[in-house]
Amino acid sequence: MTSLLALSPLILVCATAIVVMLTIAWRRCYDLTATLTVIGLNLALAAQLVAWWQAPHDVTSLMTVDGLSIFGGVLILVATLACATLGHAYLEGARGPREEYYLLLLCAAAGGIALVSSRHLAALFFGLELLSMPLYGMLAYTYRERGALEAGIKYMVLSAGASAFLLFGMALLYARTGHLDFAGLGGALASAGGDGWLLAGMGMMLIGLGFKLSIVPFHLWTPDVYEGSPAPAATFLASASKVAVLIVLLRLLQSAPAAQDAWFHSLLAVLAFVTMLVGNLLALMQQDLKRLLGYSSIAHFGYLLVALVINDGLAVETAGLYLVTYVVTTLGAFGVVTLLSSPYGGADASRLHHYRGLFWRRPYLTAVLTVMMLSLAGIPFTAGFIGKFYIVAVGVEASRWWLVGAVVAGSAIGLYYYLRVMVTLFLPEPGMQRRDATTDWAQRAGGVVVLALAALVVLLGVYPAPMIEWVRLMATT
């Protein structure tokens, strides 16, 4: 019974998926489907509280429910809710079946929750695939668009390759140690020392997970997929999917401290260093907001890797906190793109010149995007600043000056393109091609979500104490 209660969020999400599927089979009704999805997700979110009372609790040898998994689950559910709400406005104008989007979304969310609770390589693989498979469909959902189809297929092919690497890595680890659960694996790794096959196995797993996190040099798919896919799907990919994978990576590294042997450790450090700089440098010249956000997310995961590399002291708290600020900010930024592209009619409004002079037409929507850009750049008064503060703090605490230097340099480079986006919003330029949100955007659900996110970003930036306390509570359980 305790196990069922502990897993109740996952069960609720899966049940909602089944209910939604049956509803679609019974009668196609767009609004009903959307409502059911949102109700189910909210119930699951409430059930995280029930799960919290049971934590920490191991459910079979495959999964565990502890602070970290609940933390990840909450972030994933919130992101999924935002994607469902934004998707509702976005898909209103779409031709063809629209209801299946919610089905895919729910399945992906279930995969994400399973992934963050996994404590066994089998559960990890299962969760990862359940997260990725529906994403192929979501990314190519508006398949009449050439970009979307390309994005979906590209992600599918490369993701399959990454999964193969992951499986191969697991097989190698299993062959050498005979363990598949994280704890056993960690113990075996500790006693095995620097065995070549084990290192190869860990390296291959890192490739598989690094692909999902778009860590340089496995990042090549990111900008294309972000650019081509429909905005709500890109939002999910950028927020929930990455959170889930990062948390499982964090759990892996924590349960196998011996995996931090010198060679592997410096490999991670180099990856973090390169990711920060490459992500920021490549973003400099982008003309497409979604592409730019793609490169910026690469850079942000570079910063996050710093916390994983150090994996000591404040590191877990930092990773958690940075994830919160990243998710809220990314949802907000993509939310504005989605609103401007809603209802769906052709390619998304993501070229930068679509945004020229937006301030003079939609001041509040622009204010939201400005806040999000400032937060991504890590300027005070926004949540992003607290995240960046933590990353620098953890680097200084561990005296990793090279990584701190890269964070500082990366942020300085990053400012350039965030500022470019920001100032574009305010420049008046008559005669440019206009894309605009619907006039009543602020009264619609999507608009409310975006405004709430902006308020949250500012609130977390000015008064971060509750967030810090929550993350600490979750990180230490």
Binding site: I379, A393, L415, V423
Partner: protein, 513 residues
């Protein structure tokens, strides 16, 4: 609570201005003016009631007003505001220049007035925050925050430059320079905090606690590096010469109000930061660094002055002259004697007056001639009533003619430095010759010489006359009777001097009876 209100008033006023735009063009201007007058009145009230003649004998921190509240308990971060003579003078200056900035852009800004005043007031609010914050996290918070509205001010209301520089490039350059150097300061602050954590097991960003750690727990090498982190951040803002690249562009491209704020207040936050944080936190490292800082100061004096001589753009000329003046400030700060430090305070105030005066004059010339290129001016003495005479006074002030505030400041800085660094003073004095040259260039090229046209231009209206004469009175008043200013900052400057010298000669017996 007064201190909190000092910060909140500009922020609230800014929001009101933004929303007032829907009622027409005038309400935002009047609200902005009212806000800044209220701020100024509040500061003057604080000045009037407080006692700043306290002599700091026992503890280093005798704040006249203090306010604290918990903010982020996880790291021992507090909202800790405190005010002493130095910060009071700086805030009063902020209020005054805020009023001037609003008044001088009365006719200049005609587009998106509400949003303009929002940005203007938020800069001022951020600057007041910088001057009041004593918790290092809070200080950094305001330090970085004030850049955003400044960026908008330059990028959206600036002038496009003559040599292909756009205002957006200038604004971006300004932002990246200051933000990147700010992050170095953040690294240094955190280095200090973790050193404190290692020594005591507690996180704290408080000024007193960190100062204690910095002076007792740090290895000299570590102190040197952390001091450098602070110094670079302040040096970029000040600006010290190799790090000055953003300043001429930002000034040339900024609207008049932006230039007034930039030259008058933003540059002063750097000097304030050195006096408040860099020196007291790392006195030994700063002592060791003083020769380099002196060298940079002299370099700045000559570099700024020589480049100022070669400028054709009036605002760029004034911008380079600011670099030159800030060289004197840097020398004064690192000489560490009370006399020189007092001179630094006077010089900061004086430079704020004279540079804003000159920037406002260039703005007024631009409104009449639609150019800032001095090659297109000339012979204006007969064409504009009133303005050339006032300009002459400000040019004289910028040159440091006796009787003006700049003279008092520069004299005190050089006099105070002479005891310890005679050669620096001898070399730096050469800067006066160059100052005379570029100042006379302004007068010669703009107001004298053959006139390009004979049509008279509009003279000063009441708003402009009151503004310029008011500023001029202040320049002369501080120049002739600097007593009140010196009395106010005396205790704070004695503190800084005591910290600097105590470390150097610990065996010196107490002289106080």
């Amino acid at each position: 609570m007064t201190l909190v209100w000092l910060i909140l008033i500009p922020f609230i006023g800014g929001l009101l201005c933004w929303q007032a735009e829907r009622f027409g063009e005038q309400p935002p201007r009047w609200i902005a003016l009212g806000t800044m007058l209220l701020e100024l009145a509040l500061v003057l009230g604080v000045w009037w009631h407080g006692d700043y003649g306290l002599n700091a004998v026992q503890g280093a921190s005798d704040w006249v007003l203090e306010w604290r509240a918990d903010w982020i308990p996880r790291f021992g971060i507090e909202v800790h505001l405190a005010l002493d003579g130095l910060s009071l003078i700086m805030i009063a200056l902020t209020g005054l220049l805020g009023v001037l900035a609003v008044v001088c852009s009365w006719h200049e800004i005609s587009r998106r007035i509400g949003f303009f005043h929002l940005n203007l007031l938020w800069i001022l609010g951020g600057v007041v925050g910088v001057f009041l914050a004593i918790d290092l996290f809070l200080f950094f918070f305001f330090w970085e925050m004030m850049l955003v509205p400044m960026y908008f001010l330059i990028a959206l209301w600036g002038h496009s430059g003559s040599t292909g520089n756009t205002r957006i490039q200038a604004a971006t350059k300004f932002f990246i320079y200051t933000q990147a150097s700010g992050l170095l300061m953040l690294v240094a602050i955190l280095g200090l905090v973790f050193a404190h954590h290692a020594a005591t097991g507690e996180y704290s960003f408080s000024y007193e606690a960190l100062r204690h750690t910095a002076q007792n727990e740090l290895s000299p090498q570590m102190a040197w590096w952390l001091m450098l982190g602070f110094f670079i951040a302040f040096a970029v803002k000040m600006p010290v010469v190799p790090l000055h690249g953003w300043l001429p562009d930002a000034h040339a491209q900024a609207p008049t109000a932006g230039s007034v704020d930039l030259a008058g207040i933003l540059l002063k936050t750097a000097a304030y930061g050195m006096l408040r944080f860099a020196l007291p936190l790392f006195p030994e490292a700063s002592q060791a660094f003083a020769p380099i800082a002196m060298g940079l100061g002299i370099l700045g004096i000559f570099y700024g002055a020589i480049l100022a001589c070669g400028q054709q753009d009036l605002k760029r000329l004034v911008a380079y002259s600011s670099i030159s003046h800030m060289g004197f400030v840097l020398i004064g700060i690192y000489s560490g004697t009370e006399l020189a430090l007092q001179g630094v305070v006077v010089l900061m105030v004086a430079h704020a007056f004279s540079a804003s005066g000159l920037f406002i004059i260039s703005g007024q010339l631009y409104e009449r001639l639609h150019t800032r290129d001095m090659r297109l001016m000339g012979g204006l003495w007969g064409r504009i009533k009133g303005l050339p005479g006032i300009a002459l006074c400000f040019v004289a002030a910028s040159m440091g003619i006796p009787g003006t505030a700049n003279f008092v400041g520069e004299f005190l800085v050089l006099f105070g430095t002479f005891g310890t660094w005679p050669w620096v003073v001898v070399v730096a004095s050469g800067g006066f010759v160059l100052a005379a040259i570029y100042s006379l260039f302004i007068m010669q090229r703009v107001y004298f010489g053959p006139a390009k046209e004979d049509t008279p231009l509009g003279g000063l209206d009441v708003r402009e006359t009151v503004m310029m004469l008011g500023l001029l009175v202040l320049v002369l008043w501080v120049g002739l009777y600097p007593g009140p200013l010196l009395d106010t900052s005396e205790a704070a400057m004695q503190n800084v001097e005591r910290i600097m010298t105590l470390e150097e000669t610990p065996a010196m017996p107490e002289e106080t009876p």
